[in-house]
């Protein structure tokens, strides 16, 4: 039976945020605050850096636009120039719309799959799921979890610390066998 971390319950978004600030100030790094909905200001409370997802989306958007414009120019100027009603082969104003659409399409794909990549999902196993009661986190409960990988992790002291900052129902996460 291995232990993976410790879970403590808090009763409101407010207490979860104050707890996050204290956990951060104590110097823990491998911890997370779980809630049924995003809590405004939690990133600062946990001391998280800004998400880098924006750069990925920007890169994807630009590739989409370049791809769209390049595809159209290549088709009508190089691959098969065809005279239709005497219009120019390189009719760049007419390419604006598909360029725009592909920029949006690529950015959206970048946003969703980039979000999954940064969040490391799909991931169907995680220590927090060893807890029976954790399932109410998607309804009305708020938890702090501290993982065993954290350099400051020491089971007894972490339990005391979480109790000190107002955590209840403290549980050590263990696998079943």
């Amino acid at each position: 039976m291995n232990s993976y971390g410790i879970l403590a319950k808090f009763d409101s978004p407010k207490s979860l945020m104050h707890a996050a600030e204290k956990v951060r100030d104590e110097g823990f790094e491998k911890f997370d605050c779980h809630s049924p909905f995003p809590i405004h200001g939690m990133d600062e409370a946990m001391g998280l850096k800004r998400s880098k997802l924006g750069y990925l989306i920007g890169f994807m958007g630009m590739s989409g636009a370049l791809f769209g414009f390049g595809l159209q120019s290549w088709i009508h100027s190089i691959e098969y120039p065809m005279n239709i009603s005497g219009k120019p082969f390189f009719a760049y104003p007419a390419y604006a719309i598909i360029t725009f659409e592909l920029m949006v399409l690529f950015s959206a794909i970048g946003a969703v799959f980039g979000m999954m990549f940064f969040n490391r999902i799909p991931r169907f196993h995680h220590p927090v799921f060893y807890s029976e009661k954790f399932s109410d986190v998607t309804s009305d409960a708020f938890y702090v979890s501290i993982e065993v990988d954290d350099p400051k992790y020491k089971e007894s002291s972490v339990i005391d610390f979480l109790k000190d900052i107002g955590g209840t129902e403290i549980e050590v996460l263990k696998d079943e066998i």
Binding site: M46, S51, I75, T138
Partner: protein, 462 residues
Amino acid sequence: MNGHAIKSKAEIRAEKLLPGNQNFTTITEDIAGVPEQKKTPIQWWLLFGFALSLLGIFAGSVGFLIWEGTGVWGINNPVFWGWAIINFVWWVGIGHAGTLISAILHLFRQNWRNAINRFAETMTLFAVICALVFPGIHVGRIWVAYWFLPLPNQMGMWPNMRSPLIWDFFAVFTYFTVSLLFWYTGLIPDLATLRDRAKGIKKKVYGFFALGWRGGNRQWQHYELAYLVLAGISTPLVLSVHSVVSSDFATSVIPGWHTTIFPPYFVAGAIYSGFGMVMTLSIIARKVYNLGHIITVEHLDKMAQIMLLTGCMVGYAYSMEFFVAWYSGNPYESFAFVNRALGPYWWGYWAMIFCNVVVPQFFWFEKYRRHIPFLFITSILVNIGMWFERFVIVVITLHRDFMPGAWAMYNPTIWDVSIYLGTFGLFFTGFLLFLRFLPMVSIAEAKLVLTESDPHHGEDHE
């Protein structure tokens, strides 16, 4: 100003949108309770049976169309575009409310949208599917519909990227894909809620699609950014889609189509009809599933206000078209518009004016905006009106263009009607399955309306 008896503005607003004593637990119970029902309500089965029979009509009619060819429709020379294009534009228009509600209202921080966005997004998905059916089948040789795609092939054949019809293909296809991604991203936390409450096989299925979501802030951080960016890029997208649809018409030289007002006018009409459809569906759903305390009269009132605004914009466009036709001094252009109002299809024009310009004027009065039976009837009239608008644009414009020798009347056939009715089967089958198995209101976002979700709730501001 910090006495506890005095309610803050935020609290008053939250109470209007989520009346009664609601908290995180009750919101989860009420919304997740619908797809978790052990017994499916009898109304659902009745509607589903009806939708399935329409779907059967759809399959049969489309099958016959593919077998026999587009000659089974009433299209003729000069009315080459008949109901297929009318229905395409109509369904795409309806599909606009979803992204408008989820994206634009999200950017404007209108949190009342949290009760209706899931609903509207789902409606968008199925409406766009119904719309995409028409360009697919109206090409006649449906087995080569993939020629739309820029695929390298042995014939050296490419789509003409300078043609608005291909822009339209890209615009609607992108719109569908982005709406699907947006919808699914919004669903992930709710699927996790359903996973955590379900047992057995359901738990596995919901769990698979929830991707192992655990609600940690390290996840929410990226999630929120992705959601914000999706809203940001969907906003110009939703405005572009119907603009591009309108360029199918506006880039031609037909009098009545060749106008620069088309893009904004089409977008306003699309939002108008989309809100009409959201209104119709939400009035039914809140009644059948007793969700009157989550989708409240307050929400319906706000939707009616947007319908009033867009209805007036559409009305302005109608009158401006007439003015410009006269002001241009072009006899063909003037004739096209006089023919709309006083020609053989005058009833189509006046049905449009009545439903789209006269009816929404009632929404100036709060009494009518909060009268649910009245709203239900007007929301249906809105969509009838918007169908007639496309009828006016497509059929009335085409049937008399330049040369009187080339004029003709247009009559739809039974197959035009049956395919149109059939798309309702496609739409409602999908929508009813959604109501049965997925939460129709965003559980995570609905909670954000409660003041308790604010971590600074109850603190005094200095």
